[in-house]
Symmetry: C2
Subunit: 326 residues, 2 copies
């Protein structure tokens, strides 16, 4: 059992394949962590899994939990409080926050997962104190977020910041389910894209280490590629360099469009660190306009794969504080 923080909120980062949750105090200290694979086939199973996850965290901290924040991988229809246009999860048209509040019996707040990741990095991480920042969270898909003048920019309907669905190769590979386009950044730079490329290589080259791993029944995906790359495997290094170069094209666009102070790269894929960031920065330096490219820093997320979870907690606490003040 963890220590008893006086006041905690629970932050939940719901990704396309898994959810991570934490009990977070006012200083962004994390007092308990839990995670689940999430069922993506039907809504009822998804909600049940998320309820269990929150209950586990709530039971683990002795102090009172004041509310729960969810970062969810979809557009948010702010006016109607609905999840909309999710590419990865069966939550379209669901009043997600209201439904979860009913199940959990606590105040629940939701925002786009990418926005919340940037909220945490802006409050206390790689973008702290910056006025203009952009974040790309590389997971199953890509979550994006935009900070303008120190405030999250959500667009006219809360649907802004879908930087993963920026076309960088008009005739490129089809994007994932829910997106009708091709050659989106997400189709080239996400964890899903890395897995696709790694599996293709494993099948093409059975003698390669990735091919051997596949034959041994191991899961050939991003974490294995990163592990092999850190171990010096040339194939894995080449896959990450290719992904990093495509990320660099995305950065060219982000820097030319926003002239930002900082671009933060987060999510599980960024566990590969400089193996991805170095080629990305190289493409950025080669292809972006000089004035914005010389100013913008490209940084890995300070909170690594936990930015979204921490941001969900920050968001819930901010909203609770607003209620107290109101």
């Amino acid at each position: 059992m963890a220590e008893v923080p006086a006041e905690c909120v629970i932050g939940v980062d719901l990704g396309g394949t898994k959810a991570i949750a934490g009990a977070v105090d006012a200083s962004l200290g994390v007092h308990y962590r839990a995670r689940r694979e999430v069922p993506t086939s039907d809504l009822a199973s998804l909600l049940e899994t998320l309820t269990e996850l929150v209950d586990e965290v709530r039971a683990a901290v002795a102090g009172e939990v004041e509310g729960v924040g969810f970062g969810i991988p979809c557009l948010i229809d702010q006016d109607r409080g609905l999840a909309a246009s999710s590419v990865h999860l069966p939550i379209n048209g669901v009043a997600f926050a209201d439904v979860m509040a009913e199940r959990i019996g606590l105040p629940v707040f939701m925002d786009n997962d990418g926005n919340l990741a940037l909220l945490a990095e802006h409050r206390a991480g790689a973008a702290q104190g910056e006025r203009n920042a952009v974040m790309l969270t590389l997971g199953t898909g890509i979550a994006g977020a935009i900070l303008i003048g120190g405030e999250l920019y959500r667009g006219s309907q809360g649907a802004a910041g879908e930087l993963g669905h920026m076309v960088v190769w008009a005739d490129g590979p089809p994007c994932g389910p829910g997106c009708p386009s091709r050659g989106c950044l997400e189709a080239l730079v996400s964890g899903t894209a890395l897995t696709t490329a790694a599996l293709a290589l494993a099948r093409r080259s059975p003698a390669s280490r990735l091919g051997q791993a596949l034959a041994d029944g191991r899961e050939v995906s991003g974490p294995l590629v990163t592990e092999l790359a850190f171990d010096g495997d040339a194939d894995a290094l080449a896959l990450l360099a290719e992904l990093g170069a495509w990320l660099g094209i995305g950065l060219v666009n982000v820097v030319n469009i926003f002239d930002p102070d900082v671009v933060v790269i987060g999510g599980g894929v960024i566990a590969a660190g400089e193996l991805i960031l170095a080629p990305a920065r190289r493409v950025l330096a080669e292809r972006a306009l000089a004035l914005p490219a010389q100013h913008a820093r490209v940084l890995g997320a300070s909170f690594g794969a936990e930015s979204g979870m921490l941001g969900a907690a920050v968001f819930a606490r901010d909203r609770l504080d607003e209620r107290v003040r109101a």
Copy 2:
């Protein structure tokens, strides 16, 4: 000689190949118009031509001219008052507004041409009263501009909004001088791109109407393509449909990133109107995420090719008013 407006400012839209100027009153009435081809080989000739242009307009209106606004096709280094990173003109590192003020003997203000075009459309045109808007001005190059919460977004160094240098085809054709990249929107959708495609077609098909025009010594460029297309020429229609489809890819990115209320398309190329906008809207509907695509309107500029000139005048008047209030 035009009538005598009590108070005029002169707006100048400096493009990559020509400049248009107008004497503009407080109601955005234009009392005199003038234009010049601009020499792009050396700075002295460029400044001389612009001085002559302003002098012509100033002489033509009997009332007092209070100041001059310039929209210039480059990044603006706001801190140092310098033109920077111009792709089309020899003005990099020049304190353009100060130099022109010295020559003209009037207060001179400058901003990016794309920003000023959107300023005019927001004040009194296609984006009037909107909170979130994006504008693409299709000329020799592409000027872009971003309106967030009713205010122009200029980025951390005044370099934001370079939407023409958004990569949409990573291995596409090289972009223009001054941009180190390939497959930028500008390389596919600008007047320059249209001229390149039209010339290629004219040389490939001497019997086509474009081919005949080339043999007759006519200038094969955007205006001729548009003229032939309105006349029903299949080749010209195909060129504009192709350009419109690429514009549509750019719109997909703009709409997915910004979730705007409106996207305004201006500049000389938009003289082709629906011949470009219809295929662009079709691609947008097919490839963008549904929620933002259903909300965002795509409109031609209310002021056609004069948005930039009018916006330069609005900018100058706003700044002069600020001085009076200060």
